[in-house]
């Protein structure tokens, strides 16, 4: 067991994968100096500039080249800096990486992990703050992962690297410094959620930065006599229907919470699936459909708070 922060945990998982498999390479802007969040710190010194590749500011070709690398025998890890920049590489990800295996009749595969940090990041305004996980969950061929804790970032990144599929890997920009125990060599299976708190009154499903907020809200609810079953989805596609639907059926009440804009968010998919399968009562809580503002009073309008979660649960149970 080792105490690591969320960023160090990812660096450790990648370092171990690169040590074990000479075909694993990483490419992106500013990786040589450790990546802009230190999540690649030391890797270029350890593995050389041929395997931890500093690239031009060419997001489309970073992504497209990774597809070509994968087809020619490598297992690339792509760094997009922030999800907002990944939008410059949508054809390469959605039309090429995700479709390659199917449209060419299974002749090749694209083992590819695309890291694109999401989320509000103090005063980073409209183009550096988005949470666009729902976009990628919509695309056949892609796996979508959003870890919330250091041990999950370690274990999920290792699993993503081993999966052989194109994986959209979404770390959260305000979680890099969060510390926790990591078991070296551990794996977290893709598609398996994590129950953070047992409760029989309401199911709260969430992921990424909203996880600690939901846990805080659940603690507050508990003092008021409401026990929440808190589930960190961890993987958005494939998502853990079994754990979520069993919990929703048991509690009869489901709240889905995410930092992304609520309208058209992945929470809507979970809510609809739970409604079809269990008939439970449902509420969703996400950001309003507004761009993230720079000034704190504006930015705060996009934040999902523990108070708002408590309020949503209270309303859900009263209905």
């Amino acid at each position: 067991m080792a105490l690591m922060n969320y960023s160090q945990a990812a660096a450790a998982a990648l370092s171990e994968a690169m040590t074990a498999d000479a075909t694993v390479v990483a490419l992106g802007e500013d990786l040589g100096r450790g990546g802009i969040f230190a999540q690649y710190r030391g890797l270029q010194q350890q593995f050389g500039a041929d395997r931890v590749i500093d690239t031009p500011i060419s997001e489309a070709t970073i992504m497209g080249a990774a597809v070509g690398m994968a087809l020619a025998g490598l297992r690339p890890v792509v760094e997009m800096r922030v999800v907002d920049f990944a939008l410059c590489a949508m054809d390469e990800l959605v039309n090429q990486a995700a479709k390659n295996r199917f449209m060419f009749g299974g002749q090749g595969r694209v083992p590819l992990v695309v890291r694109m940090p999401i989320g509000l990041w103090t005063a980073s305004a409209a183009q550096h703050s988005q949470s666009l996980e729902a976009w990628f969950a919509h695309i056949p061929g892609l796996v979508v992962v959003a870890p919330a804790a250091p041990d999950d970032n370690y274990g999920l990144l290792a699993s993503a690297l081993e999966s052989g599929d194109p994986v959209v890997y979404m770390e959260h920009k305000e979680l890099w410094g969060v510390e926790g125990d990591v078991v070296p060599g551990s794996r977290v299976a893709l598609g398996v959620a994590r129950r953070l708190r047992d409760g029989g009154d309401v199911t709260i499903v969430t992921w990424s930065k909203a996880v600690p907020t939901c846990v805080a809200a659940a603690t507050a609810l508990s003092t008021a006599g409401i026990e929440a079953d808190v589930i960190d989805l961890r993987t958005l596609w494939p998502w853990d229907r079994e754990m979520v639907l069993a919990s929703a059926a048991r509690t009869g009440h489901l709240l889905v919470v995410h930092e992304a804009v609520q309208v058209g968010g992945f929470g809507a998919e979970i809510a609809a699936a739970a409604a079809e399968a269990t008939g439970c009562r449902i509420r969703r809580l996400g950001a309003p459909r507004i761009p993230s503002g720079y000034s704190k009073p504006l930015e705060d309008e996009s934040r999902v708070t523990a108070d708002a979660i408590v309020g949503a649960v209270t309303t859900l149970l009263q209905r």
Binding site: T23, V25, D50, R51, T55, P56, S58, A60, T61, M63, G64, A65, A66, V67, G68, M69, A70, L71, A72, G73, L74, P76, D91, E92, N95, Q96, N100, R101, F102, M103, F104, G105, G106, Q107, G108, P140, G141, L142, V143, S163, G164, D165, P166, V167, L190, G191, W237, P238, R241
Partner: protein, 338 residues
Amino acid sequence: MHESATRLLALYRTMARIRAFENAAEIASQGGVAAWGLSTTTKPALVRGPLHLSTGQEAVAVGVCANLTRDDLLTSTHRGHGHTLAKGANVNRMMAELFGRATGTNKGKGGSMHIADFSVGMLGANGVVAAGMPIAVGAAHALKIRKRPEIVACFFGDGAVNRGPFLEALNWAVVYHLPVLFVCEDNRISATTPTGPMTGGAGASVRADSMGVPGAKVDGNDVEAVDAMAARLIAEVRGGGGPRFLHAVTYRFKGHVSVDPAAYRDQAEVVAALAFDPLLIARGALVRHGVALQAIEAVDHEAKTEIDAAMTQAEAAPWPEPAAAYTDIQNTGAGQWR
């Protein structure tokens, strides 16, 4: 037969096979692509999807691919039958793919626009203009990292030079000194609009030169010229010289897709272009090399016979099972489709 005549006859044979393939596919597509608004029959076409024919552009594919090994890699465009065939793909499986059959190169999952044969290094046609370029430089990058001797040939059209990935991919190839030959197959038209007025500056070659990718311009309808220039540039690439750029100027004889009569084009221009049919030019050269007309006609006949057989086989081939729609997508979460 003299060595150069033997080589030219081999080049001609591949061009004749491509021409026969395109002509047959064109006929098989009639009645399809109803969306174009020209369908005159309710009989379903044997080739039901969009079919982008490379008729008239055969010399570019053939002249370049004649200088590639089976293990070299190639990325193509939406107009990719010629590249695929010239790289060595099996025509029966190619035609079956156009027909959407389970025996096709892509098991009927891709069709003409995504035709690929990874077994001969052909990494795929592509439905998006310029999209093969980043993939090509990535494949070349992998070959370099893996210290492999192969190279990548990256085909794209004149329309691609106006997309961002053109700039990014050329720059990438220079920055990492990659073993890639860029081939601009310049048919002078972007879908249905002439490329010239849509392009700033002097076009493809000058742009490549400005980015530090050396290259040359060649008559893309003269297969001997393409072959010679490709041989020189590919030797430089193989020798560790980094990326090279071949700008081959040709002409698209058909419409953007097979059911497009291309009425937007000046007919005088089309008629003039037909006089420079790359097969006619090659035939003339063969005669000058002393090859007998009967030998040339025999090649044409063999090509037609081969493609006729491919058509017959494709029509008789089985359709994919509906269950195949759920395979070759992803391993993680396979089975969870809703």
